[in-house]
């Protein structure tokens, strides 16, 4: 029985790989330069007490009970774990290898009911790479497969939240939003024009008020119909990928008219309608470095977008440079937004507490605060700087390995004579 040894061997390797692993989920991080949104804020010499995987207390004057294991942060910055938005983590391995892509469907039977939770792969090599960027939670969103041009399915499906902690189950929360792309690409799936797009959407939402029937010319399956009912009722947010200012206005009007809860994603021209977005209290997921007029949807794309939206009072969350392999770039993107006028504290919030709030889990994660899950990162410098790296990463109070497939390749070849 050769294979019986395997789990033991792997377990042995894991402990070798993390000699300082804190197995106990009760410990205290002392001498921590705490940097967090929320009431704790910045504490230059603070302590974070973790009990059973949760933050029990944090701040300048925290008593550490006798016998509790101490992690000395040596004055380094400690932040909440980063919360990534607009990702496909767990749903992709190699972008060009179709068999590894689970973020989209060609099915003509389902669209809105497509559910990313069933595609999640906890063994994905992308997870440790993102984690080494300090990311501990992520929104996983479905995407579109447009290979069948005849398929007019406006919705990509349901998004979910994941934990990047090691373990067999990475699903953190399902059913956190319904993805709908509008604008130029969205219109292509709804009659080929913006002028058809919004008429058809209104008709589709109107059809949800009637009981489902298989003859509906919308071709919605019963399960699509059920899922969309929770969007129509305002329970499940509609995550609308949209870029052009005029399209954003249409979306805001549509949401007001139907009483929908909306999250904007992309919103490159959002700065042009910042006050209207703020007035509707609609949050925005964005990449502040998305400043290329790559099509006629985003002629106004600007590096100032994040700063202008935030100044207008919009809740923003900052993404990385793609949905998978470059999610870790999100903290540099937050730093680049600071260089273009976003306040430093707002930038940190946009990669921690803001996304947690937008996706309804700010009671659990997003800041260093008593009662929240112990997702913590100790950094060797300013977390928004590309020159800085995490020193230690905790998810649910469990210390994570500081390794990925990439770091192992680096070790294998870095010091080798050929």
């Amino acid at each position: 029985m050769k294979f019986a040894y395997l789990p033991l061997v792997l377990a042995g390797l894991a402990s070798l790989a993390r000699p300082n692993a804190v197995e106990a989920q009760t410990f205290a991080i002392t001498n921590a330069h705490i940097l967090s949104p929320g009431p704790v804020g910045e504490v230059e010499r603070g302590t974070i007490l973790v009990r059973d995987g949760k933050i029990s207390s944090a701040g300048a004057n925290v008593a550490v009970p006798v016998g509790v294991m101490i992690v000395d942060a040596k004055g380094n910055i400690v932040t909440p774990g980063l919360f990534a938005v607009n990702t496909a983590l767990g749903l992709v391995e190699v972008s060009s290898v179709d068999g590894t892509l689970d973020a989209r469907t060609r099915s003509t039977r389902i669209s809105a009911a497509f559910d990313v939770r069933y595609g999640l792969n906890p063994a994905s090599t992308l997870l440790p790479v993102a984690r080494l960027g300090g990311i501990t939670r992520a929104v996983v969103m479905p995407d579109y497969d447009d290979s069948n041009k005849e398929r007019e399915a406006p919705f990509a499906g349901k998004a979910a939240l994941i934990s990047l902690g090691q373990g067999p189950n990475i699903l953190f929360k399902a059913d956190v939003g319904m993805v709908l792309e509008l604008g130029e690409d969205g219109a292509a799936r709804l009659g080929g024009s913006r002028a058809s797009e919004f008429v058809l959407l209104r008709e589709l939402f109107a059809s949800l008020k009637k009981p489902w029937n298989s003859d509906s010319n919308w071709g919605l399956s019963e399960v699509d119909h059920q899922v969309l009912a929770s969007v129509a009722s305002g329970r499940m947010p509609l995550i609308v990928i949209v870029h052009r200012a005029s399209d954003i206005r249409q979306v805001l009007g549509f949401a007001r008219e139907l009483g929908l809860k909306v999250i904007l994603s992309g919103a490159e021209e959002g700065w042009q309608v910042a006050d209207e977005i703020a007035m509707m209290k609609v949050p925005v997921l964005l990449n502040p470095t998305s400043n290329i007029p790559s099509n006629f949807d985003q002629i106004g794309a600007s590096l100032r977008n994040a700063a202008i939206l935030k100044a207008a009072g919009v809740d923003i969350a900052i993404s990385g440079n793609d949905g998978g392999h470059r999610v870790r770039d999100m903290r540099y993107n937050a730093g680049l937004a600071v260089s273009r006028g976003l306040p430093q504290s707002a930038a940190l919030e946009a990669i921690t507490l803001a996304p947690a709030r937008i996706f309804g889990v700010s009671n659990l994660v997003g800041s260093i605060e008593s009662g929240k899950l112990a997702d913590l990162v100790i950094w060797d410098g300013d977390p928004l700087e590309a020159l800085s790296e995490p020193i230690a990463i905790y998810i649910d109070g469990k210390q994570q390995p500081m390794e990925s497939r990439a770091t192992q390749l680096g070790k294998r070849y870095g010091n080798r004579q050929e």
């Binding site: 290329i292 002629i299 590096l303 392999h325 680049l336 990439a406 680096g410 870095g414």
Partner: protein
């Protein structure tokens, strides 16, 4: 420690010309496709009191750089500034050479990226050594200005990588212009884009034609070089006869063969898109078989696996830090690639290949530096700045003219708001040949392309 790439010594001999002049003409014709670049008017300027990363491996704190008539005149601590020079206070700021991108598609895949603008890949045939990227460049691509805002003063614009031979690249000075000739870097050698791996075999194999495999790729290269050797031999024989005064008929010009034979003569630099270590090693053998040098492997995400081989061949690497996993041949890309290569004596450049990345090659370099440090390779910033200045200049064959802050070189200079390896750093002033082309203190002066005029564009 850092063995250099060979610098083309007589690059000006091929400046802007078809490589094989027609000798039967009785009177000289004006050079076709010549650079018409003229430096913008430049006031003599001194930046004083800045931290200067010279691009030669030095850092000078509280330093002065003096630019006169578009050239760098002096760099150092105790530089006398002539009364006539405009003085810029650099206290608390940093100065570097102009940033150089050795792999870009600006102008050939411009924004907006609509079909009418897709001019970077002549992807109907794998052998297109006859096309020249400069005949596609749209100088109104709004991204040229955005790259300038990231400090980019020169760039190599290459054809795409769909084909085995993609065509000739063009080296540009990043100045606002109406014609591509006005941007062409005077005296820069031509380059040939080649591509290994998944792109050519995937593009053509899926259409039921060669190449369909990596061995098909290599066979395609070898057959073409055999043709090029034959072509070069015919012209040599003809020229020899003419030199002796014998009657001889000129062979018919062939644009693709002119480019390939230019490589064989050492006049045109090979820029080879290649990801995997094993494939790069094979391509070096192809070079051995036909006696040509590969100036640089581009992307080369597995360069770190053959660092010593690349160092021995004096072949440069132009690569990223953050891009990986988008196809099989990019699955082994690691952030510390550049650091490992540099530590083993390879000339490394960080390149963009991308419209957003070209605006922050400094930050991409920081990612590579941090990853190197994590892996136990601590490379000083004064060395790493070469990855986006001097080393790409070497790859482009212009290191004798730009890429470092040395007297006599072009005054291609960036004044940064702070340490350029910081995400918060902004390129406040960008000088090209001494002329202040981009100045954030005067937003109204920042060039907007014709395309953007009258549209609701934002700042930066």
């Amino acid at each position: 420690m850092l063995a250099g790439c060979a610098v083309s010594a007589n690059s000006s001999s091929v400046a802007g010309a078809a490589t094989l002049p027609e000798p039967t003409l009785s009177k000289p014709k004006p050079e076709a496709f010549a650079s018409t670049y003229r430096a913008a008017p430049a006031a003599d300027t001194a930046i004083v009191g800045a931290s200067i990363l010279t691009g030669t491996g030095a850092r000078i704190d509280g330093g002065t750089i003096l630019m006169t008539d578009g050239k760098i005149v002096a760099v150092g601590r105790d530089i006398e500034v002539p009364a006539s020079a405009r003085v810029i206070d650099g206290t608390g700021k940093w100065v570097t050479p102009g940033i150089i991108d050795s792999h870009s598609h600006l102008g050939v895949f411009p924004a907006p990226g609509v079909d009418g603008h897709a001019d970077g890949n002549e992807n109907i045939d794998p052998y297109t050594a006859h096309v020249w990227a400069e005949h596609s460049v749209w100088p109104q691509d709004p991204v040229f200005t955005k790259a300038r805002a990231g400090g980019v003063t020169s760039l190599l614009v290459l054809p795409g990588s769909a084909n085995l031979f993609g065509g000739r690249g063009v080296t540009l000075k990043n100045v606002p212009a109406v014609t591509v000739a006005q941007m062409k870097f005077p005296g820069a050698p031509y380059t040939l884009k080649m591509a290994c791996g998944e792109n050519p075999k995937g593009r053509y194999g899926s259409r039921g034609r060669a190449p369909a495999t990596r061995m098909g790729n290599v066979a395609g290269f070898r057959r073409s070089w055999i043709d090029a050797v034959e072509y070069a031999r015919k012209w040599e024989s003809y020229e020899r006869k003419r030199a002796k005064g014998e009657a001889a008929e000129a062979p018919k010009r062939d644009l693709a063969m002119e480019t390939l034979s230019g490589v064989l003569k050492g006049e045109i630099l090979v820029q080879n898109h290649c990801y995997r270590a094993d494939e790069m090693a094979v391509m070096l053998d192809v070079g051995r078989e036909f006696d040509y040098r590969t100036t640089a492997f581009h992307h080369a995400v597995e360069g770190y696996k053959i660092a010593d081989l690349l160092a021995a061949e004096a072949t440069c690497v132009a690569t990223w830090a953050t891009r990986w996993g988008f196809k099989m041949e990019a699955f082994d890309a690691i952030e510390e690639n550049a650091a490992i290569l540099a530590s083993r004596g390879v000339c490394v450049a960080i390149h963009s290949d991308e419209q957003r990345l070209i605006q922050r090659l400094n930050v991409e370099t920081s990612v590579a530096l941090a990853a190197g440090r994590r892996a136990g390779i601590d490379i000083p910033q004064e060395e790493a700045i070469k990855w986006i200045t001097l080393n790409p200049a070497r790859i482009m064959g212009v290191a004798d003219q730009t890429g470092s802050l040395e007297p006599g070189k072009m005054a291609d200079v960036v004044l940064w708001s702070r340490n350029p390896f910081s995400v918060y750093a902004i390129a406040e002033k960008v000088f090209i040949d001494g002329a202040l082309i981009h100045d954030t203190s005067n937003p109204g002066s920042i060039y907007r392309s014709d395309f953007e005029l009258g549209q609701s564009v934002g700042e930066e």
